[in-house]
Symmetry: C2
Subunit: 152 residues, 2 copies
DNA sequence: ATAATCCCGACTATTTAACTCGGATATTCT
DNA sequence: AGAATATCCGAGTTAAATAGTCGGGATTAT
């Protein structure tokens, strides 16, 4: 059970843009380099994100991409939903079992997939790009302190 | 983002066995029919579950499968882990970015995949086969009441 | 003996993931 | 104007995983 790289790459790229929000547009090449992703492949993914309105593009020399909105308004879940498709764990319609409960249109396992889906949604819809940036900066601070102490 | 059918089929089959726990062994053919799964395909899956000690098999005529343990001791997570493999959402080692935080061995997105994994684990490790059976029986009761009222 | 059933390994077809590429279009800089 | 830099678009490729199929052997109740 695993996520595809689409979602991973998409979140990484968007996070990279979030780190530079408010600055000049970032060309894809830079993002791909920094995040260790194939540039050509990322091109496809960011194309999707652009069409969905999550990033804006500037063509031509000095062009690149910027976030279409404030990082605090973009949730990880938004990105994953678009790149991975909605979480459709099961297309479960199980009605063959004609027994004492025959009238029940019910798949015993369906509830489990629903619970899993909800749990994932809760997580990814609660984390914004800004949260990720904050976490990163916090870690940097801690690290600086650590280096400082080491050199004392 | 979706689960493979392996996990779905496996849970369905185990649930079927749980419904008949304590009775005679159930042949694979019955399970496959009732749950709407290819018998040959299910054969592979249940083979894995047998080797891992989750079900016991009886060969020969009147043979079949039974749960190796009480349904309350078998968690949905156990089944999924074996059939889908552990949840390895990302094999994220991202250390290329040499900037002001260069000493930090840290992947910005890693925390997200960890959180997702934990959320899924929490769900599937909290649901036993017995829970599923209870849910089903509860639903049957409700349904009976409903039919009763309708006929009044 | 025979029918039912598990057991095992190999085979195949389909789909998906993960890239790769060629060339068109737009923009800036010199 | 022209070169360089980028986005934009669609198509092609490769490799792996998924899902399913099959043949035949071993075991056991009737």
């Amino acid at each position: 059970m695993k996520l595809s790289t689409k979602g991973q790459y998409g979140v990484k790229a968007m996070y990279d843009l979030a780190l530079h929000y408010g600055e000049d547009p970032i060309p894809l090449k830079k993002i791909a380099e920094r995040q260790g992703i194939s540039e050509y492949y990322l091109e496809q993914l960011i194309g999707i994100l652009r069409r969905e309105g999550f990033v804006k593009s500037m063509r031509g020399s000095q062009g690149g991409y910027i976030l279409a909105d404030d990082p605090s308004n973009i949730m990880v879940g938004d990105i994953l939903n678009i790149l991975e498709g909605p979480i459709e764990i099961s297309d479960c319609i199980d009605d063959r079992e004609v027994n004492e409960c025959s009238k029940v249109n019910y798949c015993a396992t369906r509830l489990i997939w629903v619970k899993i889906k909800n749990a994932i949604d809760d997580v990814v819809n609660s984390i914004s790009l800004q949260d990720m940036v904050n976490d990163y900066k916090l870690l940097c601070e801690k690290n600086k302190d650590l280096i400082k102490k080491e050199s004392e």
